[in-house]
Amino acid sequence: MLTGVYLPTTGRFFLDGEDLTGKSTVEISHRGISRTFQNIRLFSNLSVIDNVLVGMTNRKPCTMLESILRLPRHYRTEKELRTAARELLDVFGLDGERRTLASNLPYGKQRKLEIARALATNPKMLLLDEPAAGMNPHETAELTETIRFVRDHFDMTILLIEHDMSLVSGLCDSATVLNFGTTLAQGKTADVLHDPAVIRAYLGDD
């Protein structure tokens, strides 16, 4: 809904005071919201670095004609984008595998690549949709580190949708619990997680 895939029936949402309700996915991405997907959606037939480069498509102006005719700006753009992409991949420890096809990466690294690709669009806000889905505790721990690194080193808001409590409690400043579409609790993560109503919703009565 936030990225314009579905239209909200009620309510509106804003980014920096700008109403983004009902805008198209592309538009919303241009305004600075980037996301990862619960079921990984990489560009599987592109290489790792190309996946990140797709995220950077709108960073530099360079028309299609310039690319086709191989004018100087094409080379400049490509070079700059490639350098930026490699830096970003380096942060995620994926630079060594930049030429592998995305679909050939192991699961954990695909998750990382998805985050890197989302960051490539230079977002103001990063939306992580259940990043720990299908991960074992070890991978989750590694993922926690990655997200913490992003939180500490990139200047942006991270919105995390997750039901893995170790990930949530390890990372989040504030939390909101939704139960069947209504807000159950909202506030500091520690407080929310100890809210009796939340515990009841998760673990049942008694």
């Binding site: 560009f43 037939n45 592109l46 190309d50 480069l53 498509t57 690319s67 086709i68």
Partner: protein
Amino acid sequence: MKKIRLKHYINYLILGGALALFVALDLLGALKRSDASLLTQIGYSIILAVSLNLVVGFLGELSLGHAGFMCVGAYVGGVLYNMLIPACGTVAALLIALPVGGVVAAFFGFLIGLPALRLKGDYLAIVTLAFGEIIRTVILNQDFFGGPMGLPSQRFGDRLYILAFALAIVTVFVSQNLRRSKHGRAIQAIRDNEIAARAMGVNVTYYKLVVFAIAAFFAGVAGVLYASSTSLVQSTNFSFNYSIEILVMVVLGGMGSITGSMISAALLTFITVKLTVGLPSELAAIEPLVYALILILAVMWNNAPFLRPLRVKLHDKIAALRDRILPHKEVDGSDAAATAAWDTIPTKIPMDALLSTDFTVDHSFDADRPEKEEK
């Protein structure tokens, strides 16, 4: 760091080399008229296959109406010849007809791109199929276009094949440069996962329309070439079957592979023409059968498990041959060695003057192409 990568030039080498060879034969008088006309056909088949590959291989949409765009180009060419040749001569008419035919076809490509924004897969394929048939039928029933009798056109000399090959090189140039750019990556991202591409800010609408338009443009150019190679443009030539034939060229060459599209277009055209011309009339009915057999064999060769050892052996042989011919740096003995040798040709390779224009350009940032997946 200046590196010349053979694989970026291999398509130009193949086409340019073939063209040079044929021109040489021609000058020696060893090229028969029938051969020259076959070469023209091969030339525009390559244009058709490489341009369709843009839609099918890169954008990932099935298009069954490519012959329709060619039909538009052919009739625009024919009409322009009839109008312009009395006024300004054949060469000028040809030079005007090529871009105009392309642009008119591109306009139709744009129109077909519009439903492509909403439809996917089979449904879009049906729309493109319908388009091809509608265009053909409409033209067939217009007296302005000569109706069922066909439209008289200007037949250019046998040397037309030179132009056809030159335009094929242009098509490859555009298609290849488009792919190896941020736009090409965006287009392939749409193919791989449209939702994710949108979320990354890729303007899907724009790219879909542009790719359809570019592909149609070159099909239109091929149509003008066709109109220049015949004295009568007939709409029956652009039937659904012909669209399928072009699609088969792309699929057989390996979807997304420009080199593959080129080679299979040349081969299939050669086979089709040789069969049609070469067989005695009683056996002409066999032609589709032989065609089908070749396709089945080719697909089996690529996929059948029991042929795998043979394939691997051949692959190794080719790799060994390549290593002998092309000097390469010492690389560690990993699997990547063969690929690396293929990629980094350290010394200059001799090339036609035609191809050397791009020679001193810095390709260092292209060092990140994906490695070929090992079979």
